[in-house]
C-alpha cells in the first residue's frame, strides 16, 4: 500500500516531465490532431517549459528538456539539436525573467511569454535555414505561435491548481 502511494506520488510530481516526453514521442500537435474539428495548433512544449521553469523549476529539469528536444527533432524530422536549443533558449529567457522580476503577476508573465516565444522560434528558424534544406509554412508557424501565446493562461491556471497539491514540499 505504501509502495503504491509512493509510486503515485512520484508519478504525479513527475507529470511535467512525463508530459514533455509524451508530447515529444507522439509529436502531438494539440487540437490539430482531430481532423475537420479545429484548424489550428499550438506548441504545448513551450507552455510547459515556460510555466514550470518560471514557477516550479524544481519539477522540470533542464536535462529532461534537452533530451525531449532531441526526441522531438527525430520525430518531426528537423536537424538534431534544433528543438533542444530552441527549448533551452526558452529556459534561458524564462530564467532571466524570473531573476529580474520582483513581484510576479499572471498578466505580466503572460506578456513576457511573447518575447520568450519570439527568441525561441528565432533560434529554431536560424538553425533550420542554415543547417537544413527544409522550407517553412510561415503562416502555420505564426498561427502556432499566436495560439501558444493565447492558450497560456488556460494552462497556467490548470497547472497552478495541479501544483497546489504539492505546496507542502
Amino acid at each position: 500500500m505504501y509502495t503504491l502511494k509512493s509510486i503515485k506520488e512520484v508519478l504525479s510530481k513527475s507529470l511535467p516531465v512525463i508530459l514533455l516526453y509524451f508530447l515529444s514521442f507522439s509529436s502531438f500537435e494539440s487540437l490539430k490532431q482531430f481532423p475537420n474539428l479545429v484548424l489550428f495548433s499550438f506548441n504545448f512544449h513551450m507552455i510547459i517549459i515556460y510555466f514550470y521553469i518560471l514557477k516550479f523549476p524544481e519539477y522540470l529539469g533542464i536535462g529532461h528538456i534537452f533530451v525531449a528536444g532531441i526526441i522531438n527533432d527525430v520525430v518531426i524530422g528537423t536537424p538534431l539539436g534544433s528543438s533542444s536549443l530552441s527549448f533551452l533558449i526558452m529556459c534561458f529567457f524564462t530564467t532571466y525573467i524570473k531573476n529580474v522580476t520582483l513581484r510576479s503577476k499572471m498578466s505580466a508573465e503572460w506578456f513576457t511569454f511573447i518575447p520568450a516565444i519570439f527568441f525561441s522560434n528565432l533560434v529554431f528558424f536560424v538553425i533550420i535555414n542554415n543547417f537544413s534544406n527544409l522550407s517553412f509554412y510561415y503562416i502555420e508557424l505564426l498561427t502556432n505561435s499566436f495560439f501558444t501565446f493565447l492558450f497560456f493562461p488556460v494552462f497556467y491556471f490548470l497547472f497552478v491548481n495541479y501544483q497546489k497539491q504539492f505546496k507542502n514540499d
Partner: protein
Amino acid sequence: MSDSRDDFIIAIRYSLLKKGTKQKFSLFFLIIFSIFIVVLDKLTIPPIGFIKTTLKDVVYRVTVIASSPGKFILYTGSKAKEHFNIYDENRVLREEIEVLKKNEFDNSFLKTENKNLKMALGLEAIQDTEEGSATVAKVIIDQESPFLKSIIINKGTKHNISKGMTVFSKKYLIGTVIESNYLSSRVLLITDLNSKIPTIIEDSDINIILTGNGNKNDFILEYLPDDYQLQPNKIIFTSGKGGFLKTGMPVAETYLNKKNEVKVKSLTDPQQASIVRVTKGQFRN
C-alpha cells in the same frame, strides 16, 4: 547607467551558469552541447551516422507506441463516421461504377486503335524501364509536423531501401525516401513544400512543376504560363523530365473549390496511406 548594465550582465550570467535546485546541468553547458549536436548533425561522419540511425530507429519504435492511443481514438471516430455514411457512399459508388464501365469500353477501343496506328507507323511498343521490384512497407508514423509533411515506414537499409527511392500508395505516387535508417525510413510526401515534381496537364503540352503546399487539396503549379487558363477536372501526370520518374503517372487533378476557383488536389491522401510500395524508379501496376 553603468549599474543597470551591470545588473543586466549579472542577471544573464546568473541565468546561464546557476544550477537550480535538483538541476544537474547548467543552462550554458546544455546550450553549448546542443550547438555541438547541431553541427555534428550537419557533418556526415560515419560513426555519427551510425549513432544517428540507431537513435532514430529506437525513437521511431517508441513513437509508434506513444502515438497508438491517439491513433485508436481517431480510428474509432472515423469508423463510426464511415458507418453512418455507408448508404450515401453506396449510392455514389454505384454511379461511379457505371461511369467506369463506360470508360473501360472507351479505353479498350483506344488501346486497340493506338496499337493499330503504331503498327501502321512502324513504331515498336515502348518498354517499361522499371529497375528491380517494389518493396512493400507499412507506415508506422504518420503524424503531421508544421515543418515537414512526411511519414515513417518500417523498412530501411536492411531491406535495400535507400535515399531517393519513390513511394507509391496503391498506384499513385505519394513521395520520395529522404532518410534511410537501418530499420526505418522517412518519406517526404508530395504535399510537402519541399516536394517538386515535373508534370504535364491533361490535354495540353504545358510542362509545370507540381509543388506541395502542406495541404492535399492545394498544390502549387510553378512555371504555369500567365495566359494559360486552368480547367477543372484535368488530370496532372508526371512528365518524366529529368528521368527520375516514368512519364504519364497520374499524380493530381484540378477541381473547382467552393469559391469557384480552380485548385489542384492529389489523387490520393498521402497522409492516409497505411501500406506503401517503395521502388527504385517507377511503379508498374
